[in-house]
């Protein structure tokens, strides 16, 4: 059933729960709304300054009545105006009109008594556009005058389509009669205000709800509606039964439409908007007369006041001034309640201002409202549940709130409690139930706020961890890149050095070959074998290097691409970041080129193998040193075998002719043979020794002494040469004993060289190779000798 049908049906739905407290409205509603002499000092709270409002006045300024004190700086802006003419003496925190009386920023105006006003610009509402209407209402600082003080210009621009506008003239709280008097005396102006509201929201029906204890007000409103051409067809006054809390927004909607505002949402979702009659009156003043909201009707009543009644009080008038003017009776236990006895709050300090939402100041006599007595045990009578307008189970809420089981209290819908006070009103044990609920609600709010904070802290923490991790990865990547660059540079240097050294060795060898022509052939063979071997190795090395370089190039390309991708992601950023992909790709290309060049060079300069072995040692770690040494040794052995074969081939051709003579020679050669073996053993031992020392040194020297490798390489080559020489010497021994002394000398030379080489780690390797070569040669020679001897 839609809202219009419901309104047409002209039925009222009963209020769930509710109570009938003594009304006490007759105390104040008998006289017309009066005025009090102006106060000397006015306190205009400016709580929005620094948030959604900016201060436009300063201390020492003279302000006129109706002059704005702030200007808008946000959507929730609620304008504040000077209520009278005077001097701004201070803008400072001052006790607030709040149960806590906590100080808030307040503009203190010393009235000059002239009450001079700024000129108001009147206008005809019908001729104004919606925007102009809203602007006028906004600039006038209109707020919900039922007590909520929500900026009206926001509520007048609802997001949803509004079907029904309810004007709240229920005023269900005992004692209060400000709306009652306003409706009786200014019904026409209220209706004019309703017309403006209707002009803004375009509701299809308007219901003015008034309790049946305000018959005069209802009559006045009915006749005023009848005189309004715009409202007559769609608006009606609906008199509802007097029952507290019918005036609550949600309760009034239930009574008028039978619908309930879903928990946690606003009436606009149902297509309903509720405005207070006082707000309608103020809207008319603002739009038609251009007068800002600087005064309101306040009921001042209670047994401790002699002149009960309703008064036009300028916003900002100190409560103490009102009490003084209306002759507060002497009472040590005086109580000033802002609002009604059911939902109002007791002021801790009377020197606080009247606000836009202050509809009543209740100053009761002692024991006028209730007899103070102690809280007793809950007997679970359930009267509270009978009167609860929200259909809660107050005794269960109390039970859980008292035990601080707030999650359970929440499960009983504590958040739907409107704090109307019906439960506490009827409680036979006089338990201040609402107080318990407020405490519980505050605790839950605090808990939620803390949870939100904890959640935010967690997000912050995780973001920090992620950032640190990313930074670490970036650092590592950089370090790795740098290491690769350094390695690449080192390899190039080494290879060059080795190549140069090799050339020198070759030259030396040739020089030696000229001095020792008999060894020429062997030396040449060795060189050839070596070259072959290295070619073979370098062939594979080239292959792997090629592969490596390709991989490196691919990686470089991938990196470049990645950099480009990330750059495009952050393309909105500065131009300098745009350059980086180009640089990166360039770098990658350079890297790729370097890699290719290396591969080529490696292929060209085969001896680089040793360096590579050294590199491996450096990178692979100490554990692998032995195995790589073995490899090197095996390589050397292979080289030796190759050499030996060759020598065997040449010798057999040469010496087979001298076969008969070799028998004798073989006998003679036996001791020589021994000598050669001894020399070989010495070489081996030395090599071992060198190997022992080199284990640690190998890695160090190759890594740290990169510049020095050129010199060392020379030494290396020299030692190789020495070893070769030694081997040759042995060979000579084999071929004949004539050269024994020479052999000894040469081996000695070799020893010397070996000794000097033992200082350097890399040299030791060479020595070992040489030793191995020598050993192999010696063996081979011995075998051949034996064969020859046998044959």
């Amino acid at each position: 059933m839609n809202l219009i049908d419901i309104i047409e049906q002209n039925t009222l739905w009963p209020l769930t729960g509710g109570i009938h407290p003594a009304e006490m409205k007759h105390l104040s509603n008998q006289t017309t709304i009066a005025r009090l002499p102006l106060a000397k000092t006015f306190y205009i709270p400016l709580p929005q300054v620094g948030d959604s409002a900016l201060l436009v006045v300063k201390v020492g300024d003279r302000v006129l009545k109706g002059q704005p004190l702030t200007k808008s700086a946000g959507a929730m802006y609620l304008a504040a105006h000077a209520p009278t003419s005077g001097l701004i003496t201070a803008i400072t925190p001052h006790a607030s009109n709040h149960p806590s009386a906590l100080p808030e920023l307040t503009c203190i105006i010393e009235a000059d008594g002239k009450d001079e006003s700024v000129p108001y610009h009147s206008a005809a509402a019908q001729e104004l556009s919606k925007e102009e209407l809203i602007a006028r209402i906004r600039e006038a600082g209109i707020a919900g005058m039922g007590g909520a003080m929500f900026p009206s210009h926001i509520k007048l621009r609802p997001a949803a389509k509004i079907e029904l506008l309810i004007i709240n003239g229920v005023e269900c709280e005992p004692y209060i009669s400000s709306d009652d008097r306003l409706m009786r005396e200014h019904a026409a102006n209220i209706v004019a205000g309703i017309e403006i509201i209707q002009q803004l929201i375009g509701a299809r029906r308007i219901v003015i709800a008034i309790e049946d204890n305000k018959a005069e007000a209802a009559a006045a409103m009915t006749s005023a509606i009848a005189q309004s051409a715009a409202l007559k067809p769609i608006a009606l006054v609906r008199v509802i039964p007097t029952k507290y809390p019918s005036g609550g927004e949600k309760q009034l909607i239930q009574i008028i439409t039978g619908k309930e505002v879903p928990s946690g949402s606003i009436p606009a979702q149902l297509g309903i908007v509720v405005h207070n009659v006082g707000t309608a009156y103020a809207i008319r003043d603002a739009v038609v007369e251009g007068k800002p909201l600087i005064e309101r009707v306040v009921t001042v009543t209670g047994g401790n006041i002699e002149q009960n009644g309703n008064y036009w009080l300028p916003i900002g008038t100190p409560v103490s001034h009102v009490l003084q003017q209306l002759k507060l009776r002497k009472d040590k236990q005086a109580q000033v309640i802002v609002g009604g006895p059911m939902m109002g709050y007791a002021l801790p300090d009377a020197n606080v201002p009247v606000l836009k939402g202050t509809n009543c100041l209740l100053i009761p006599k002692r024991n006028e409202l209730t007899h103070a007595s102690a809280e007793r045990a809950c007997i679970r009578c359930g009267e509270c549940a009978q009167v609860c307008p929200a259909s809660l189970l107050p005794q269960q809420l109390y039970w859980h709130a008292k035990a601080e089981e707030y999650d359970k209290a929440n499960a009983f819908n504590l958040q739907d409690c409107i704090e109307c006070g019906c439960c506490a009103f009827v409680c036979p044990s006089e338990i201040p139930l609402v107080k318990y609920y407020r405490v519980a609600k505050a605790a839950i709010r605090k808990d939620r706020a803390e949870k939100v904070q904890a959640e935010q802290a967690k997000i912050r923490f995780e973001a920090r961890i992620a950032r640190l991790e990313q930074e670490k990865q970036e650092r590592e990547a950089k370090a790795k890149e740098a290491a690769e660059r350094r390695k690449a540079a080192m390899n190039n240097d080494d290879k060059d050095a080795v190549a140069a050294a090799l050339a020198r060795v070759q030259a030396k060898k040739q020089a030696q070959a000229t001095t020792a022509p008999s060894n020429d052939a062997i030396a040449a063979a060795v060189a050839r074998a070596k070259a072959k071997k290295q070619q073979a190795i370098s062939a594979t090395d080239t292959a792997t290097d090629d592969k490596k370089s390709q991989v490196a190039a691919a990686i470089a390309r991938a990196k470049a691409k990645k950099a480009q991708a990330s750059a495009s992601d952050t393309s909105a950023a500065s131009a300098s970041t745009l350059d980086t992909p180009a640089q990166d790709s360039k770098q990658a290309q350079i890297a790729a080129a370097v890699a290719r060049a290396k591969a080529k060079k490696a292929a060209q300069t085969a001896p680089a193998q040793n360096n590579e072995v050294a590199d491996k040692l450096a990178t692979d770690g100490v554990e692998q040193i032995n195995s790589t040494n073995d490899k090197a040794a095996r390589v050397a052995a292979a080289v030796a075998r190759a050499k030996a074969k060759k020598t065997a081939a040449t010798e057999s051709s040469v010496e087979s002719a001298e076969a008969p003579s070799t028998d004798q020679k073989a006998q003679v050669a036996a001791p020589d043979d021994k000598a050669a073996r001894v020399a070989a053993a010495v070489a081996r031992a030395k090599a071992k020794k060198a190997a022992q020392t080199d284990e640690q040194a190998a890695s160090e020297t190759t890594l740290t002494e990169a510049p020095a490798t050129q010199e060392k390489a020379d030494e290396k080559q020299a030692k190789i040469a020495a070893a070769i020489a030694k081997a040759k010497a042995k060979k000579a021994v084999l071929s004949g004993s004539d050269d024994a002394e020479q052999t000894e000398a040469m081996s000695k030379q070799a020893d010397d060289n070996s000794e000097s080489s033992s200082v350097s780690a890399a040299d030791a390797k060479k020595a070992r190779i040489a030793a191995a070569v020598a050993k192999a040669k010696a063996k081979k020679a011995a075998e051949q000798d034996n064969q020859e001897n046998q044959s």
């Binding site: 109570i19 309930e260 409202l369 007793r376 007997i379 359930g382 259909s391």
Partner: protein, 351 residues
Amino acid sequence: MALNIASSPHMSKPLRTSTVMQRVLLCALPGLAVQIAFFGWGTLFQVLLAMLTALISESAIMKLRARPVASALSDNSALLTALLIGVAVPPLAPWWLTVIGTAFAIIIVKQLYGGLGNNLFNPAMAAYVVLLIAFPVQMTSWVAPISIAEHSPQLLESLRIILAGTQISVADTFQQGIDGFTMATPLDTLRTDLSQGHVISDILQKSAFNGVVGAGWFWVNLAYLFGGLLMLKMRLIRWHISAGVLGALSICAAIGWMWEPATHVSPLMHLFSGATMLGAFFIATDPVTAATSNKGRVIFGAIIGLLVYLIRSYGGYPDAFAFAVLLANLTAPLLDYYIKPRTYGHGRASS
């Protein structure tokens, strides 16, 4: 200027716990008066004895618990418990029976559970069950209504019998007439005779019954019904529990009666026998031990009504209110947990 501050609401309607209890006590007076009229002065003495015991027990235990004695006594709840025990025990039961029962109710069932508002079981009914189980002979020897008894003890005689403290000697002294001044209650007679194969119509011809219901008991129940209606009018209780009890009992009795009238008594007999009206309005409505939501209270009452019917018709005891109430007390927390009213703005929100 020092201002007095307090949390809202600042207004309250003073209908205090003590006032409520006091009014309930007053509403029970018509029933008590009729009971005295039909069963002699014994009941009055039992009630006074129970009240005295209750006040002494409550004071003692509050002192032991270091709580204010005066406020506990002034809430009148102990007096109400005492009244219920006083009218429930047989009028001429020995004094120690009432004293033990009342002391048990106040000290164990009420105060040891945390005092008013915290007890799980109805104190008066728990005490009644303890007495019924511990002293079955004394608890089932009810006096014959004055109207049909040959001889009824007078005021001082009753007091002497109660204070003498021995049921047997009393029975010997007054063993005359039908069966002296003590006899089984109508419900007890009914179940004994039914178990012996008699039919209802025959049994109702006995002198214990005046045609339809038990002699005397009808008027007692009527008086308590009047008191109950008075309480409803004064808003001391809500209708839900009483309606649940009487509704369930009537419906069950009607079904049984229509199904087999020879062995099942009429709903009228059920409603106006034994403790039905006293139980429905004064015992089951104890808010502390009942469910709290309206729907829950109807169900709570219906559970009592159903149990009363079942125990009366098929159980081992002639009347069953004490057992039924205690069993229903056990269900109250469960009912409160599962049966909650729909909060404003929840569920069927905008229909």
